[in-house]
Amino acid sequence: MPLAVAGMEVAGRSLVRSIAVYRRDESGQRLVAHCCGEGIFHLGEGAVGRAGAEGTPTIEREGDIATVAVPSMQGEVCRGVTTFRCDTGGDFRGACEVWRRNERGELGLAENLYAGLDRLEQITKYVKFPRRAGLPGRVWDDRFPRVLGALQDSKHFIRVAAARTEQLTSAVGIPFMGRPPELDAVLLLLNTKQTPIAKAMEVWARDLTTNQLRIVSADYGPYTALASVSRRLSLRHGEGLAGRVFRDSAPYATHDLLGKEFPRGDCFAEYGFEQGVGLPVFIGADLVASVNLYL
C-alpha cells in the first residue's frame, strides 16, 4: 500500500510534487479521491486513512518522498484529507512542521519534514512556544490560521536568524483542534524562495457584516499584482476556491484557476499559477476559514 496516491502534478519549482484531495463518502468510513488523486482509503488505512482516523496532520516518508496528510475535521467527523507529496531530496528546500502541546502546555515540534534546511532543523528541536508566542503560539491563541510574509523581517517570526540563513519567505500556520476548546496541533508550512510549497497563500473567512468571504491574511511574494486585485475581493458561497470550500465544508483542489477564480484567473495565469487547493479550518463544528494555497 503506497503512502498516498499521486494526485494533481505540480509543475514548476515547488517542494510539492503533487496534491490529492480525498473526501468522506456516504458510509463515513472511507475517503474517496475527489477532484484530484486516486483510490479509496478506509479510515486508518495508509497516510490518508490514518490522518482521517486520527484527525491530526501526519508526515510519512518513503525515501526522498514525504507525504504530508492534512485532515479536515468537523468536530469528530472527517470531511476530507488533503495530501501533499513533497520531494525532500536534491536541491529542494522547504519545511512542514507539526507542533503539539507537551506536558508543560507549550508547543513542541512533534513531526517534521525539512528539505535542505539543516540549520532550521537543528535549532527547532530545542525551541518551544508557549501560548501566544511565535507563529504557532499565535495560531493557538487565535484558534485561527494565519499567513506570515517577509519572514526575514517579521517580528512575529521568532526564528528569524534561521529564516535569513535559509532564505525562508513566508509561512502559514493552521490550527487543529482536539476536543474544543483544546488545541491538538498547529501545522506550519514554510516556504523558501527556491522551491516554495505555495507561491501564494491566503486565509479566507466570512465577513460577519456582509456574510461574504474575504481574505484576512495573505502573502503573494513577488506577485504584487495579485495582492492588489485580491485585497478588496469578496466571494459568495460557491464562488472561487474559498467559496467552494465553504459550500462543501470540505477541501477542494483545482488546476483550473482561470475558470474558477474570477476575476483573478487572468492574473494567476499570467504569473504561471496552475493549481490551487483550499483547506477548510474547523473549530469544533464551525467552519471558520479556508486556507488557500496556489502553486
Binding site: 506536558e103 502546555g105 535549532i123 525551541v127 518551544k128 471558520v288
Partner: protein, 317 residues
C-alpha cells in the same frame, strides 16, 4: 525520578496569562507585561532574558509575591500564590545586607524565622553551612563594610538558600560584579543547585550566562505588552562544565538564536509596512470580530464533484 512525579510536580511553577499594568499620567492602564505564560518543572533552572525595561524583573517580583498581579495567575506546587512567602527566596542585584550585622547574623536573620522549631545551635549550623557552601567559611564574623561586592553577594545567596526555599529567584545577581567574580559565583550557585535541586528562575541580560546556567532560556519580547517570545531547551548535561558547554556543537547555534532574537527586539521587529506590500495580515481583526459575534453557520451538504471536477480525477497520477 521524573516518572514518579505527579503532573503537579512536573508543572511546579505555573505562570498563566500574567499581566502587569501601571497607570500612565492620563490614568490609562499600560500593560507592561501582557499574557506571559511559562511553566517550570521541579528542580529546573530557567533563565529569562530580554532587553532592559521589558518586564523581566516585574515577572520575577510578581512570582516572589512582592508585586501585585494585574491579571492572570501564578501557582507554585499547585497552589496559587498570594503575596510573599519563605517558599520563594529572592537574590537581588544588590545584596542589601544589614550593615551593623556580620555575615553570619545576616544569614541567621531569615534562618531564625524559618527554623523556629530548631535549637539555636542548629540554626547557627545551618547558617554556617550555607556560608561555607558559598566559600565564606572564614568570613562568618565580617561586617559588610569589610567585604568586597562579590563576598557580599555570596552572603546574599547564602541568606536566600539557607531558607530552603521551594523556588529561588535570582534577579540579575551578578550584574554588579566583574567577570571573574561573576564566573566564580555562577559556579558557586550551580554547585548548590545541583545539590539542592531548587527550582530556579534567573533574570539576566547575559546570553552566555543564561546558556551556561540554565536548563531552558525564556526569551521575552520588548515591552510594553511584553510576553514570552520563545523558549529554548538547552542540551547540556548537569553538573555543568564550562569548557564542555563552550565546546558543545550546538553552543554557537543556540547562542546565535538568542542573540538574533534580542537584536530583532532591539530593532523593533518588522519594518514599516509598505502600502504596496504583497502580504498583509488582518487576522487579529477577524479573530476579535469572531470572538465578539456568535455566528450561526448554515448546515452544510457535501456537494458532488461537477463533471469538470471529475475530469481531474487521476490527472497526473
Amino acid at each position: 525520578m521524573a516518572e514518579s512525579l505527579s503532573p503537579t510536580d512536573r508543572r511546579y511553577v505555573e505562570i498563566y496569562n500574567l499581566v502587569k499594568a501601571y497607570p500612565n499620567p492620563y490614568g490609562e492602564a499600560v500593560r507592561v507585561v501582557d499574557g506571559f505564560n511559562l511553566v517550570l518543572q521541579k528542580g529546573e533552572v530557567v533563565s529569562v532574558i530580554g532587553h532592559s525595561g521589558c518586564g523581566k524583573s516585574t515577572v520575577l517580583t510578581m512570582l516572589a509575591g512582592l508585586n501585585e498581579i494585574s491579571g492572570g495567575n501564578i501557582a507554585v506546587a499547585g497552589r496559587e500564590i498570594a503575596g510573599p512567602g519563605p517558599d520563594r527566596a529572592v537574590v537581588f542585584q544588590s545584596p542589601c545586607l544589614l550593615p551593623w550585622m556580620t555575615s553570619l547574623e545576616n544569614v541567621l536573620l531569615g534562618v531564625d524565622r524559618v527554623y523556629q522549631h530548631g535549637t539555636k545551635r542548629q540554626r547557627r549550623e545551618i547558617a554556617e553551612h550555607y556560608l561555607a557552601a558559598v566559600g565564606l567559611s572564614d568570613s562568618f564574623h565580617k561586617f559588610p563594610r569589610e567585604m568586597s561586592g562579590g563576598m557580599q553577594q555570596r552572603v546574599g545567596i547564602a541568606r536566600a538558600i539557607a531558607l530552603k526555599p521551594r523556588v529561588l529567584l535570582l534577579d540579575e545577581p551578578f550584574g554588579r560584579l566583574d567577570s571573574l567574580t561573576r564566573m566564580d559565583l555562577q559556579d558557586v550557585i550551580l554547585r548548590i543547585l545541583d545539590r539542592e535541586r531548587i527550582t530556579t528562575m534567573i533574570i539576566t541580560h547575559d546570553v552566555d550566562e543564561a546558556i551556561y546556567m540554565s536548563d531552558r532560556v525564556c526569551m521575552m519580547t520588548s515591552g510594553p505588552n511584553a510576553r514570552v517570545g520563545q523558549v529554548l531547551d538547552l542540551p547540556f548535561e548537569r553538573p555543568r562544565n564550562r569548557a564542555a558547554v563552550l565546546e558543545h556543537p550546538m553552543y554557537y547555534d543556540l547562542r546565535g538564536a538568542l542573540v538574533s532574537f534580542l537584536e530583532e527586539q532591539d530593532h523593533g521587529g518588522a519594518k514599516p509596512k509598505d502600502p504596496d506590500t504583497s502580504n498583509w495580515d488582518d487576522t487579529m481583526h477577524m479573530v476579535e470580530a469572531m470572538s465578539a459575534t456568535h455566528h450561526e453557520f448554515p448546515a452544510y451538504t457535501l456537494a458532488e464533484p461537477t463533471e469538470a471536477e471529475n475530469q481531474l480525477i487521476g490527472s497526473g497520477a
